[in-house]
Amino acid sequence: MNNRVRVLKDIFWILSFSGLVAALLRMLFGLGATTNLTDGIPWGLWKVFNMIAGVALSTSGFTVGFLVYVLRLDRFKPYLKPAILIAFLGYGCSCLALLFDIGLPYRFWHPIFMWNINSFLFEVFWCVLLYFTVTAIELAPLIFEGLKAQKLVKFFHGIAFVVVIIGISLSSLHHSSLGSLFLVSPQRLYPLWYSPRLPLLFILSAMGGGIMLLVMVRIIWAKFYNPEPVFGPVSRQETTMIHDSRGLVCAVSSRKEPGFEMPDISRLALIGTGILLIYLLLKITDLVALGTWRELLSGQSESWLYGIELTFGLLLPLVLMLNPRTRNKPVPVGVAAGLAAFGMVFNRLNVGIFGYFRDAEVVYFPSLTEWALGLGVIAAAGLVFLGLAEYLPVFDDKPANAYLRKIKIKSTSTSHQVWNVVLADSLHRVSLLAVFVIPISFILMYPPYRGSEAALIKPSLGVDLQRSILEIDGDRRGYTTTFNHADHQRRLGDTGSCARCHHICVPKDKSTPCFRCHQYMHDSTNIFNHEEHKLFVARDEKLNGWHPENYACEKCHSVGTPRTKNSARDCLECHRENMFLVGEPTKEMKLMYASSFCLAMHENCLACHRQEAVKPEYAHLGECSTCHKTLQRKDREKIVTAEVM
């Protein structure tokens, strides 16, 4: 095995292992804990990149099928097998990623029995399901050829035409429907990408991008395994021997003419280019017809994304392919094919993710787990592809691959040698990789459990009691109500009346705002910090030892009783002096929880207001709007100064 293939495979294995870990974590901790998806961007990397772009990259299965079976262009026959294999693996890994993306993976079979024929997603589901079966049937002859089951091969060849026709019809449906999925958000998707012609744009770009991916795979395969048919024979005259510093002899060779397969590859790429050209024209017509081209010049981040998609993903490959000097050379064609495939994927990301940022007012960047699973699934598909292509005649290289021939000779001798040559070597590497990659990715991706703990909101500084008018902002969202503190104080009996409203404050604090304890509008809050108390008690009692806080328990919980809230001492036993009590507490209070702001305020204020509202002259005190007249913070200064004066 040459070194380049080995490195490629190692990368694939690393990605696959980390993907495996990511899949495990996603199943253990759920979608929210492992992904960066939010209510604003509900569709992320797995759905848009793996599913929508992944399926679109696998179109070569039906386009080459169309060329060979329907148009009967026999020169493209050698590309049928790799195309079908790409389609099968592409759909397979898309479905696999989707299984992890849906919130309830164990219900993935629901759409088979529960129908909603109005839904495009339902149509996509069925088409993908059926087409995946179709690719499996199309792939069967290749597998049975490897297994030497000639009768089955013949049977599958017999039904090939019908299967191909079904496959093409299904593909023409779901590749456009993937675009139609986004027709539901005319005012949410950024106008550069939203168009009523999305289905047409999607199927055209998918067909072009799929063929280009096949071309790229063919050229990369040649580069790695058997360069001659594509990159051309090594010209003997120019082979020179060089002695390097270690005394080894290196052959430096140059290739002058591209290989005999290059014209066909170039033709295939030109077909893809033709489709992309139509796509480009349609895209431009769309921009002009909808008047969205102005957005392109607006300098928004979306216009830059669109620019990248258009320049690098469409124009550059088209220029490379249409230039007669570059379109017959393997490297420029490979680059053009790669760029075109990238452009198609980037378009899907734009439509499915980036185009929603402005409307959702959130930015989404996939989490490490999402990247690991998304890339890992593709890497696993790549491994399967390489594995199958090495042992089955996927690529019809006429002068059989030297590497493959070597394997065959050795593997047919004895089973022991098979183990030695094929498995032992790679098994060592793979297990070594697994030992390193799995724990590292586990540590890196272990999720901080999201959502179970509310973020602690820091209370602002104490309210200035000297001020005559207080601004009360219950849920601290900028809507405030003014409370005339001085007026209330005066009416209720001056300084002696504090206890009528104020009950208790936190230790050593004289102007705690109400919401320090009554934090949330509708929630009771835990105001007793047990961990902190352990430390403070240990410090105050001057306890010693390794973990002095562990000896502090019995200072509050009486010895021999279970350590629960009920066995604990009353807070006031310790805090009587520094608690700033305004009056005697009416009932014994453990002070573990403070009621919600809404409740506290209503109990506090409404009790008096209700009494007073009975009097006809104070009837307005019974109305909500008496207190809930709202005020913005910026107006605060104005009112406070006005009232004081």
Binding site: P42, R72, P111, S169, S180, V184, K398, H522
Partner: protein, 265 residues
């Protein structure tokens, strides 16, 4: 009966009684329903289906599911877990949902929210207290409103009521009923003296979203069939052309194949 809720923004004082009633009706732990838990200023989350948001200085609007007459989410859900009842509420069958979150993408108002903190999450949104309506009661939020900002009833009567209010006080309201025609009409109607575009109301889209997609999705079987027939026809023509070509030039095909083999070797 097509029911609806009329929301008069000029009457709302943001006391959030409706939110409280909603939490009580759905037995939601209020510690989960904090405003801060939501990713948006609107406060909606999987544990808070109804929220008060600021429409303008001193003006508040209740935001919750609009219960569109032709709901986009119902059309989008691939397993049909969302349905519009004959009464009007859009309800959600949790036993069918697979968690694809297409409803969240499809809703023009950003209403569906997801239980991101759960291992087996579901979508959550207002159901207009469909069970209560079936029993002849009115939705909990409407019942709780102390200022009459929310009004429940027959949608047509509510429309007439809204028009009457605007007619009687033309200076106090903008002459527009949000929800009358937008997105094909919604069961929840708004009248206001300030602009309500922050609720997700577009400038003016009179067409419902399903009307954009459903004709297309219904045509797909025919497109698929015609593609298949076209392909077979095309193949037949090409086959025949090849055959005629071979008959006219006997031995040509074989020769080229042989030539190719020779070239390759």
């Amino acid at each position: 009966m097509k029911v609806g809720i009329l929301i008069d923004v000029t009457r709302c004082v943001a006391c959030e009684r409706c939110v409280e009633a909603c939490l009580g009706r759905h037995h939601i732990d209020s510690s989960k329903a904090m405003r801060e838990r939501s990713e948006y200023n609107d406060g909606l989350s999987a544990y808070r289906f109804c929220s008060i948001i600021k429409a303008a200085e001193g003006r508040f609007a209740r935001k919750s599911c609009m219960h569109c007459l032709e709901p986009s989410c119902v059309s989008a859900c691939l397993v049909g877990s969302l349905t519009k009842t004959p009464d009007g509420p859009v309800v959600y069958d949790t036993s069918k949902c697979i968690g694809c979150r297409y409803c969240m993408l499809a809703c023009p108002f950003h209403i569906p929210r997801y239980e991101w903190d759960k291992l087996n999450p579901l979508m959550a949104k207002c159901d207009m207290c469909a069970e209560r309506i079936e029993k002849g009661q009115i939705p909990a939020c409407v019942e709780a409103c102390p200022k009459g900002a929310l009004q429940f009833g027959n949608r047509d009567k509510l429309l007439a009521e809204a028009q009457a209010r605007i007619r009687n006080n033309p200076e106090g309201y903008i002459n527009h009923i949000w929800g009358e025609k937008e997105f094909g009409g919604t069961s929840v109607l708004y009248i206001s003296d300030v602009d309500l575009s922050m609720l997700g109301w577009p400038e003016y889209i009179p067409r419902s979203i399903p009307s954009l997609t459903e004709p297309l999705v219904h045509s797909t079987p025919f497109i698929g069939m015609s593609v298949a027939i076209g392909l077979v026809g095309l193949n037949w023509i090409i086959k025949r052309r090849n055959k005629l070509f071979e008959e006219n030039n006997p031995g040509h095909a074989k020769e080229t194949e042989n030539q190719k083999d020779v070239e390759n070797e």
